[in-house]
């Protein structure tokens, strides 16, 4: 499938899934499931970061305007996008990234995915809940929200990839 069409479909699907379904769920204990950073994460390795920032901005605005969060999702997603190349460089394999691959769970291996995506998602969630509460005396509640939401969001992301991304053939 054409790359542009594939990523456009992912953009629309993830934005609407987040805004109309996941943001309406109440799980309790302050848990909020956020999967939309997956769109930015799965963009090609050699994709320009400027374009990526614009895409992140657009996606954040779409989710924010539907959910009345006025820039909260945008800010966290921009931070996620800005840190993506830096974290990728930190966890790069010795011979560099294979540009023909996509950065998903199956092609890069579960170990790499857990480290890199988990770390980026941790920063995203912490920044999001920090801005949402914005009080220093609520720091324990912020940490509770972050560390309870993180595994659930990660699980959702893994499930989404298992459902919608075709596994490469075993060699």
């Amino acid at each position: 499938m054409n790359q542009v069409i594939k990523h456009s479909i992912r953009f629309v699907f993830l934005a609407l899934l987040q805004a109309l379904v996941l943001n309406q769920l109440e799980i309790g204990l302050g848990i909020q499931v956020m999967v939309y950073p997956l769109f930015i994460f799965l963009l090609p390795f050699e994709f320009s970061i400027i374009a990526m920032l614009f895409l992140a901005f657009a996606m954040g605005i779409v989710i924010d305007s539907i959910c009345n969060t006025y820039g909260l999702h945008t800010s966290s997603l921009l931070l996620f996008t800005y840190l993506r190349p830096i974290i990728f460089k930190m966890f790069a394999p010795r011979e560099g990234y294979d540009l023909s691959k996509e950065s998903n769970l199956f092609e890069m291996g579960p170990r790499w995915f857990i480290y890199v995506f988990g770390f980026l998602l941790l920063i995203h969630h912490f920044w999001f809940f920090l801005l949402e509460m914005f009080r220093i005396d609520a720091i324990l509640f912020i940490l509770q929200k972050t560390f309870l939401s993180l595994p659930i969001s990660f699980l959702f992301v893994v499930l989404l990839q298992m459902l919608f991304i075709r596994k490469p053939k075993e060699r």
Binding site: I66, Y70, L78
Partner: protein, 279 residues
């Protein structure tokens, strides 16, 4: 000049990131308190259309519960109609009363989008300025208060709900009339608190809390909830009163918007109070 361009090119990613981040944070922190436009909120036309479509699907989830509540209210209202009274004295004619003038009018509305897990929760209603909604009107349901209109477009409006941190509605304890401001701490969607009641007043548990109706947004006596417990505040002579809301905002669908017909008059007379001049 060339150095400047070189600098800009070198840090272009960081500059773009900073610029967008500042924009996002600026809108986040200003829109929370002073919304200036309806773009980028769920009152906008595009987002409103999406949310209406979503509501078409999800409205059936709580339908039977909502219908029961409406039926109860209908029974209550029907019992006050003239046809449900026995006439005791013949010859009495009902005349148009001049002792009472209507002050509040109510506009029915549907909640098409709501959140309850965030630190600040907003509800979207399916009516807007075309139906006569204005900013700062009160909103309540058959069980209790809901919030204040925050932002209006032509066909949608956004309510700043009771579940926001600085909602500050005047409420009072119905039995003795001691009053304070309603607050929410951002944690549990069933519990709020009242601040400003001094701790020499005695408050019974489970006494009713209603609106005070001072600012002309809500009439007096709309239910808010019940006092669940009292907590002492360290170093201050006031109670922290925990209120259990009577409305469950998770299943809220049908609400009424309050139109105060005498609001202009109240504003006009209150603007005559001389302002305190700094000495």
């Amino acid at each position: 000049m060339r150095n400047l361009f070189a600098f800009l090119r070198r840090f272009q990613v960081f500059l773009l990131f900073t610029f967008m981040q500042v924009f996002a944070l600026y809108t986040y922190f200003t829109y929370l308190n002073f919304p200036r436009s309806q773009y980028l909120t769920s009152a906008s036309k595009v987002a409103g259309t999406f949310l209406s479509a979503k509501h078409e699907v999800t409205k059936h989830l709580n339908l039977s519960k909502n219908n029961t509540a409406l039926q109860k209210e209908n029974i209550h209202l029907r019992s006050q109609l003239p046809m449900s009274f026995v006439r005791l004295e013949n010859g009495l004619v009902k005349i148009n009363d001049t002792l009472f003038k209507q002050q509040y009018d109510y506009i029915p509305a549907l909640v098409i989008n709501s959140t309850f897990t965030k630190a600040n929760n907003y509800f979207t209603l399916n009516i807007g300025s075309a139906q006569g909604i204005e900013k700062d009107m009160g909103v309540f349901s058959d069980k209790g208060i809901v919030g204040i209109i925050h932002n209006v477009s032509e066909h949608f409006s956004v309510v700043k709900s009771v579940l926001t941190e600085n909602i500050n509605i005047d409420v009072m304890i119905e039995s003795d009339g001691s009053f304070g401001l309603l607050k929410w701490d951002g944690k549990h969607p069933r519990r709020g608190s009242i601040s400003g009641i001094s701790n020499d007043t005695r408050i019974k548990r489970w006494s009713k809390v209603v609106t005070k109706g001072g600012s002309g947004i809500f009439p007096r006596g709309i239910p808010v909830g019940k006092v669940e417990k009292l907590r002492t505040v360290e170093g201050k002579p006031i109670w922290d009163v925990v209120v259990l809301f009577s409305e469950n905002y998770r299943t809220l669908q049908r609400v009424y918007v309050i139109k105060n017909l005498l609001k202009e008059e109240q504003k006009k007379i209150e603007s005559l109070i001389p302002e305190d001049k700094p000495k």
